[in-house]
């Protein structure tokens, strides 16, 4: 490895916050960080397929402008000079937003998503768009149109979805952070399967203006990054009311980073006695139990707690996303169903026969169920924690519905069981790496708090990361021969 490549690699091992601080202090330039990120993609992405379209010239021009500003003593904000890339469903003026689909392949938005604008206004550099599940509608990372995204810890395994490229790119150290979106777990699933940190805020916490809709009632915009502190900085930047999205909350946005003091003494951490551990893999359960011990050693108190109405939550959550997703896609499903991948058109189809009375029932019960949670759960605990997924990370082959893998349809539901329930409840939830399974794939757990308790769940996640190093581990990517045709994996380390 050349000295220049070694320095670039070292730069990409910084966390997002460390990179921000290095730019602020003048220890590194935005151009150097951007070149390092582009080099990382170039070297590693042929095997991972995390990127969709990179924009090196434009990104470097932006980096040069930001460096000139910094030399003049002006910093745009807390992300000044740091390169990011985002799931290809956030609209940017004049840039293709394919949403992982063939159908949206020619879409050129005429406006920019509020979340992207806020990140760029804070000084970040958008270097391109990232691979994702078609229309954000699978939990595995498969994509029939742009190629499957591969897990950096082992390319035969799922990245999780739908924010597959976001999870993989952050894990592989191609980028410091990325926007994902989460309707049934699409931030937290790739976070846990790729071994990074990801947070969805309270429903309404972040503007969805300029974000491809999947399910109006449960869509959330949020970040994936390496640490809870990184996520805190990104979430604070994008959260808050947006007049362009009247559904976004007017609740004030606190300084999430200020809450990260590592002190969880006396905090009550709920561990559900029902639903969330049904059929859980023994290795996942052991990693989760070990994580709770870490929090206990920090002074937190674990409390067994029953989460009410979980049968109903599980049923209602699946109905809402099916119906709203089907509604959005109805015209295309009539006119060009062959342009969807098999698993997506099949999944959408099921939504067209769900009775409206059941959909309305599912929507109308969200308030009463949340109130029951408020009294029966959050009256006893400050947060509750569960495995993010109950199983070990599955392979791409075992979950490939389009290829006819037996049991793959059922696997889709099983993967999202613990996450989609949280979307129905509308709670903030952060997924944190907490170990590796016997195959070397990551395991994660998720922490939920009351509505608008993002600071608290991040505080717990940060405290956990003070005593563990799972989030610091770096996957070793296989060597690749760059030549004509598809990349060839030389050796798996």
């Amino acid at each position: 490895m050349t000295a220049a490549r070694e320095r670039a690699s070292a730069l990409m091992r910084l966390t997002l916050v460390e990179a921000c601080e290095a730019v602020r202090k003048g220890e590194v330039t935005a151009v150097a960080l951007t070149e390092a990120a582009l080099d990382a993609f170039k070297a590693g992405d042929p095997t991972i397929n995390a990127s969709n379209a990179l924009e090196p010239e434009e990104a470097l021009q932006t980096a040069e402008r930001l460096d000139r500003l910094r030399k003049a003593g002006r910093l745009l904000g807390p992300l000044h000079g740091v390169p990011l890339a985002h799931k290809d469903m956030y609209y940017r003026t004049g840039k293709p937003s394919r949403c992982g689909s063939k159908i949206r392949g020619t879409c050129l938005p005429t406006y920019t998503a509020t979340a992207i604008k806020r990140l760029e206004d804070a000084g970040s550099i958008t270097i391109g768009s990232l691979n994702m599940a078609e229309f954000a509608q699978n939990p595995t990372g498969h994509n029939a149109h742009f190629g499957d995204c591969h897990n950096p810890w082992h390319v035969d395994y799922c990245t999780g979805g739908s924010s597959s490229g976001s999870g993989a790119a952050v894990a592989a150290r191609f980028i410091y952070g990325a926007l994902g979106s989460d309707t049934g777990g699409s931030i937290r699933l790739p976070a846990t399967m790729c071994g990074v940190t990801g947070i969805k805020g309270t429903q309404t916490r972040v503007s969805r203006y300029g974000a491809m809709p999947l399910c109006f009632s449960a869509d959330n915009v949020g970040p994936l990054a390496r640490t809870a502190r990184d996520c805190a900085r990104l979430l604070r930047t994008i959260a808050g009311h947006d007049p362009a999205d009247p559904t976004s909350s007017t609740e004030p946005v606190p300084d999430y980073e200020a809450a990260l003091d590592g002190d969880v003494r006396g905090m009550r951490v709920g561990i559900p006695t029902n639903f969330f551990f049904d059929g859980a893999d023994a290795e996942v359960r052991a990693a989760f139990d070990a994580a709770m011990k870490v929090l206990e050693l920090r002074g937190a108190r674990t409390v067994r707690v029953e989460i009410p109405h979980m049968d109903a939550v599980n049923a209602y959550a699946s109905i809402i996303s099916r119906v709203e997703g089907a509604t959005i896609h109805a015209q295309w499903m009539r006119e060009r169903p062959q342009d969807y991948s098999i698993h997506l058109s099949g999944r959408l189809y099921a939504g067209y026969a769900i009775p409206a009375v059941h959909y309305v029932e599912a929507l109308s019960r969200r308030g009463p169920i949340l109130r029951a949670l408020g009294s029966e759960v959050f009256g006893k605990v400050d947060v509750f924690a569960t495995p993010t997924i109950r199983m070990k990370v599955p392979t791409l082959a075992a979950t490939d519905i389009d290829a006819g893998a037996p049991g793959a349809v059922e696997a889709f539901g099983a993967i999202t069981a613990n996450t989609r329930a949280i979307n129905y409840m509308g709670l903030p939830s952060v997924s944190v790496p907490c170990g590796f399974d016997s195959k070397g794939l990551p395991i994660g757990f998720q922490i939920q708090g009351r509505p608008f308790a993002e600071a608290r769940v991040l505080k717990v996640a940060h405290a956990y990361q003070q005593d563990t190093d799972w989030h610091k581990r770096v996957p070793v990517l296989p060597a690749v021969t760059m030549s004509e045709g598809p990349p060839r994996v030389e050796a798996w380390p």
């Binding site: 309270t202 429903q203 309404t204 009632s217 909350s249 609740e251 606190p254 109405h309 049968d311 109903a312 599980n314 049923a315 209602y316 699946s318 109905i319 099916r322 089907a326 109805a330 499903m333 009539r334 169903p337 062959q338 969807y340 098999i342 698993h343 058109s345 099949g346 999944r347 189809y349 099921a350 067209y352 026969a353 769900i354 059941h358 029932e361 929507l363 109308s364 019960r365 969200r366 308030g367 009463p368 169920i369 949340l370 109130r371 949670l373 408020g374 959050f378 519905i401 389009d402 349809v409 059922e410 539901g413 509308g426 708090g449 009351r450 509505p451 608008f452 308790a453 600071a455 608290r456």
Partner: protein, 68 residues
């Protein structure tokens, strides 16, 4: 039961939305919804519709984290 669901879904999707089953996987996902139907059945009688207007957004405010 599963065949009945497939037939019902096919009729409903075509009747209300003019959408035909795109592939066999569509039937598989339709059968998967049997579990959701059972969830609805188990939830009956546990939660009532509220007489007064309310909303999920109001519940977010009512149950939110209070800063000291």
């Amino acid at each position: 039961m599963s065949m009945d669901i497939e037939r019902q879904f096919e009729e409903q999707a075509r009747f209300w939305s003019g959408i035909a089953p795109p592939n066999a996987v569509g039937h598989n996902f339709a059968r998967e919804l049997a579990e959701a139907v059972q969830g609805f059945e188990r939830a009956r009688g546990q939660l009532a519709f509220e007489d007064e207007p309310s909303s999920f957004e109001a519940a977010l405010q009512e149950t939110k984290e209070r800063t000291p």
